[in-house]
């Protein structure tokens, strides 16, 4: 869960200092916002393995463009736009390089054996396989459903907070979360044992 602790005035001051080239202020901004920016990247791409590289790129771009941010109170929306566009660009570039498709793999999501021995390598392997299956299902969600779903689970944000960042009405956020859950259930039904 991400806690953005800065109030409006502190944030404005910090952004102004960072715009003047204060590295300590810029570091503070990264510390405050890095976790949710990463969640946005994961929400857009659906691939945790890409998050580190893209986050680095996002902060580089943000640092370069910081002087153009006119209203520091809009920092979150501004960062979201950069993160989303960077994630789309780099995610697509990565996808072009890959020969495999990112669609849900039916074969890989075969039913998992119910018998589990605690602390055994078999159990560890089964758990790993279950986790991979769950993550593949998340990855195969349409991005419009995945983004609010990831922010809800990783950041523990309310519908209103998610709506504010994604620039969506609260009702739409809610509907997308219902559909995300329903799709996940359809994809995973009978394939993993919760």
């Amino acid at each position: 869960m991400t806690t953005v602790t800065l109030d409006g005035e502190s944030l404005r001051q910090l952004v102004t200092e960072a715009q003047r080239g204060d590295r300590a202020a810029a570091d503070e901004l990264v510390r405050e916002h890095d976790a949710w920016v990463r969640s946005v990247i994961y929400g857009v791409t659906g691939r945790a393995a890409l998050v580190d590289d893209i986050a680095q790129q996002v902060w580089t771009r943000a640092w370069e463009r910081l002087p153009t941010l006119e209203d520091p109170r809009r920092l979150r929306a501004w960062l979201y736009t950069i993160a989303r566009h960077t994630a789309i660009d780099m995610g697509m570039a990565q996808r072009r390089q890959q020969t495999t498709t990112a669609t849900f793999d039916e074969e890989a999501a075969a039913p998992v054996p119910a018998r589990r021995d605690e602390h055994s390598p078999v159990r560890a392997a089964v758990e790993r396989e279950v986790q991979e299956t769950l993550l593949r299902a998340v990855q195969s969600l349409p991005a419009i459903y995945r983004e609010p779903f990831v922010l809800r689970h990783l950041e523990d944000w309310s519908y209103a907070q998610i709506g504010a960042v994604l620039d969506l009405p609260v009702d739409t956020v809610e509907t997308r979360l219902v559909r995300a859950r329903r799709l996940l259930r359809e994809m995973l039904q009978g394939k993993v044992e919760p």
Partner: protein, 187 residues
């Protein structure tokens, strides 16, 4: 027409589940959900499936993103119990080892005048005492580490020169797993 109504009702129920799982329910909605779950077994099963899936997916995503989360209370208790048992088991192993350890020259004191020979005093449950194991002489001063390694397609051997000229100790080495260990006394 009926199918549409059923789908709408189903969506409304899923919406309620979703709001509840996200902590967005009003008190009235929560009450409605509890009543539904009490009276409708199918709805209860569906809610439990959604809840379990939600938890599992959330946990998988947090793990994938390297987000640590506090272990649930029951898990902490299990961990504490397990670590307590592990400590007790380790202490028991140490005590057993000390009790069974063969007395060596440094740690065995024969009572004066008991007449017990050193050989008789050495006993172990693991290795029977014998001249092969106990009477190995010190390594010669000019001893060198083996440098010769014979290799073929299937096996490795280490050829160790013995103290006497023309004699070697040949050790066959498993190529799959080779371990380096500390040796306190040269053979």
């Amino acid at each position: 027409m009926n199918r549409d109504r059923s789908a709408k009702s189903n969506f409304a129920l899923q919406r309620l589940f979703s709001r509840y799982l996200d902590g967005e329910c009003t008190a009235q909605e929560r009450q409605r959900l509890h009543t539904t779950l009490r009276t409708d077994a199918a709805a209860r099963a569906e809610f439990e499936a959604y809840r379990d899936l939600d938890r599992a997916v959330g946990q998988a995503m947090r793990q994938a993103m390297g987000r640590t989360e506090p272990a649930p209370a029951w898990w902490t208790v299990r961990l504490r119990l397990a670590s307590g048992l592990t400590l007790a088991a380790a202490a028991a192993c140490v005590a057993l080892f000390v009790w069974l350890r063969p007395p060596g020259p440094g740690n065995h004191v024969s009572p004066p005048g008991s007449g017990t020979s050193q050989a008789a005093a050495i006993s172990s449950w693991f290795v029977a005492p014998g001249p092969q194991g106990d009477e190995v002489g010190p390594a010669p001063a000019a001893y060198e580490r083996p440098e010769l390694r014979v290799r073929d397609t299937r096996r490795h051997w280490l050829v160790v020169p013995a103290p006497e000229p023309g004699r070697y100790l040949i050790i066959e080495v498993d190529r799959v797993r080779t371990h380096v260990i500390g040796v306190h006394q040269d053979f």
